[in-house]
């Protein structure tokens, strides 16, 4: 929460100063009066008199207290594309008439009004309060740590005669959580093991999914007695169910490279945008199902990892961790670190743009060690190649893409499914085939 008080006390403009308007009123009146006296022209005095009145009014309503100001972002976290407010709080002082604020554009932050300039006429109701608020709507265009501000704040007295500021207030940094891309899968996770999830087990047990009606056995719960069948047959029958199970889904995000550009206005997304949003979507989906989800980020700058967890708070933890991801290539990936915390039955979902061979090698290693691995290819078609687009760069990029295709083919051949990220249903086919494969193996 960005509620830290910011002070602009040391700024040289943090005082009420005479404006050009007031200086003009005094000067024109003085010149007109002098001219009228010396040239015996009362019409000149008349022409200067309204400015003299204005000057007198202005001096009588001169503010004497310097206000204090601060910038507040009321929301603790924002989601990308979500509108929020940046509030400039200004202490109310007598004779302050018009308060203005001008918020500076930050990278990947949209403002409303577009140029961030706002004015607020101080009313009698405002004067009753200790602080008045000038709000500007802000919308972060991309996940991550975003800067809102700095902001310039100023105020004027009646007739624009005295001005306080503009004084700059430091920017505020807001954590912007990735907006999980729409993702849904009707396919079950391949190796459910725990006993709290929503996946139907192949074995009967205590769950919510109906299995059959069978005769009562020692240990059956009384609430499961099927009275209609029992009365009809004269023998106690109970309804049996399948056990509910959960699984551990280990999400691995490859953040070695960020290809393409990211712009909310033109709806352009980079490969890391797709990776992070896909990771958020997959995590949110499985956590909603009651599964345990862990997260690991492969990046030299932000080597984040979250242990497995469940529930809504864990969803928030995952999104917060994903908001901190920054791309930087890693010299070496330690396979032990990647495998850390993965037990038998873990489903590893690796999300990568697959532009470097290292993550693919890790996926193959994981698969070889007995973990079910699914690789999501985040290099979606509209991601632009890196660097300047001259002929050589284009040729180089095409060669790299061909190499990449070869690497993907090899990994597929070793039994690791690679699916392109296409939003909802991206993993359906793969998870179904993994589940079938497992059932076949069990038989």
């Amino acid at each position: 929460m960005s509620l830290k008080r910011q002070s602009a006390r040391t700024h040289p403009d943090n005082r009420w100063g005479v404006t050009h308007a007031h200086a003009r009123a005094v000067l024109v009146f003085a010149v007109a009066a002098l001219g009228a006296l010396l040239a015996q022209r009362p019409d000149l005095l008349l022409m200067g008199s309204p400015l003299g009145m204005v000057a007198l009014w202005s001096v009588l309503s001169r503010p004497t207290t310097v206000p204090e100001t601060r910038l507040v972002i009321p929301a603790a976290h924002l989601r990308e594309g979500q509108w929020s407010r940046a509030v400039v709080g200004v202490m109310t002082c007598p004779h302050t008439e018009l308060v203005s604020s001008s918020l500076t554009h930050g990278t990947q932050v949209d403002l409303d009004p577009e140029r961030g300039a706002r004015t607020h006429l101080v009313t009698a109701r405002d004067r009753e309060r200790a602080e008045l608020h000038v709000s500007t709507r802000v919308r972060p265009g991309r996940w991550g740590l975003r800067r809102v501000g700095p902001v310039l704040v100023g105020a004027t007295s009646p007739w624009g005669a005295f001005r306080w500021g503009p004084v700059p207030i430091e920017h505020q940094t807001v954590k912007v959580l990735p907006d999980p891309a729409v993702f849904d899968t009707s396919a079950p996770a391949p190796h459910p093991q725990g006993l709290v999830g929503q996946h139907r087990s192949r074995f009967p047990g205590d769950g919510s999914e109906f299995n059959t009606i069978r005769t009562f056995q020692w240990g059956d719960r009384l609430k499961r007695i099927h009275w209609a069948r029992s009365l009809r047959t004269g023998e106690l029958h109970v309804t049996s169910s399948y056990a509910d199970q959960d699984t551990h889904v280990a999400i691995i995000v490859d953040a070695h490279y960020d290809l393409g550009s990211s712009d909310l206005a033109t709806r352009q997304s980079s490969s890391l945008d797709y990776s992070v949003r896909a990771a958020a979507a997959v995590a949110e989906h499985f956590l909603h199902q009651g599964d345990r989800v862990s997260l690991q980020v492969l990046s030299a700058r932000t080597p984040l990892s979250l242990p497995p967890g469940t529930g809504r708070r864990h969803t928030h933890r995952v999104l917060q961790a994903l908001a901190l991801v920054q791309a930087q290539p890693q010299e070496q990936i330690d396979p032990r670190r990647v495998r850390h915390g993965m037990g038998p039955g873990t489903l590893a979902v690796m999300i990568s743009a697959l532009v470097s061979p290292a993550p693919l090698a890790q996926a193959a290693l994981l698969s070889r060690s007995g973990t079910q691995v699914v690789v999501i290819d985040a290099l979606v078609d509209d991601v632009q190649p890196p660097g300047e687009q001259d002929d050589i760069a284009r040729l180089g990029w095409r060669i790299r893409l061909m190499e990449r295709e070869g690497e993907v083919r090899r990994v597929r051949a070793s039994g690791v499914p690679v699916v392109p990220w296409r939003g909802p249903g991206s993993l359906d086919q793969v998870l179904r085939s993994l589940a079938r494969h497992r059932q076949g193996a069990a038989r």
């Binding site: 005082r15 009123a25 000067l27 024109v28 010149v31 022409m47 310097v66 706002r118 004015t119």
Partner: protein
């Protein structure tokens, strides 16, 4: 930072209310020029200079240019209108008041900011009050002229003394130390 680039950017992104205020500045200067032409004689050069200064004033209402324009207006009035009790002095005065107010309001807020409607209502009332007081003052001046009262040298000297005292008092008032925030 390039001031000319900033100025052009400001002009390009003016809010509707700022455009309205700039139009009021233009209207006030046009009104003054028309009254000047009706009331007396002015050279073409004076009018050309006035037009140029007006354009500068519209572009830069937050600088010293409006003060220069107003002093220039006084000078051309003094040079062009011979009668010191010309009744056209009142509309000319009101034009200068409008010019000053529009410039002050325009400079009080960022060029891109929307100004609240209530602010315009407040200033319409204030302008009406000051304009009313100016008209009363002009009526007093014309009555004094009609009665033939003239103060002579003593009136001039006392007027100069009053002006000096007023400017000195003003300086003292605006340089009083300001209170620090209490928060």
């Amino acid at each position: 930072m390039n001031p000319m680039k900033d100025l052009l950017e400001d002009l390009r992104s003016l809010s509707q209310q700022q455009v309205l205020l700039r139009a009021a500045i233009a209207l006030a200067l046009l009104g003054f020029t028309t009254v000047l032409l009706i009331a007396g004689e002015s050279s073409v050069y004076a009018l050309v200079v006035l037009s140029l200064l007006s354009a500068c004033c519209i572009i830069n209402p937050h600088t010293v240019l409006p003060a220069a324009v107003m002093i220039y207006c006084l000078a051309v009035w003094w040079a062009g209108v011979a009668d010191p009790f010309d009744p056209w002095a009142v509309p000319a005065t009101l034009c200068l008041l409008l010019l000053h107010t529009a410039c002050a309001l325009s400079a009080a807020a960022p060029a891109q900011a929307e100004l609240p409607r209530q602010l315009f209502r407040t200033y319409a009332v204030r302008l009406a009050l000051v304009a009313g007081a100016t008209i009363v003052l002009s009526l007093v001046a014309y009555a004094q002229e009609a009665w033939g009262y003239s103060g002579g040298l003593i009136a001039v000297l006392s007027g100069l003394l009053a002006l000096g005292l007023a400017v000195g008092l003003h300086y003292w008032v605006v340089t009083v130390r300001q209170a620090e925030p209490t928060a």
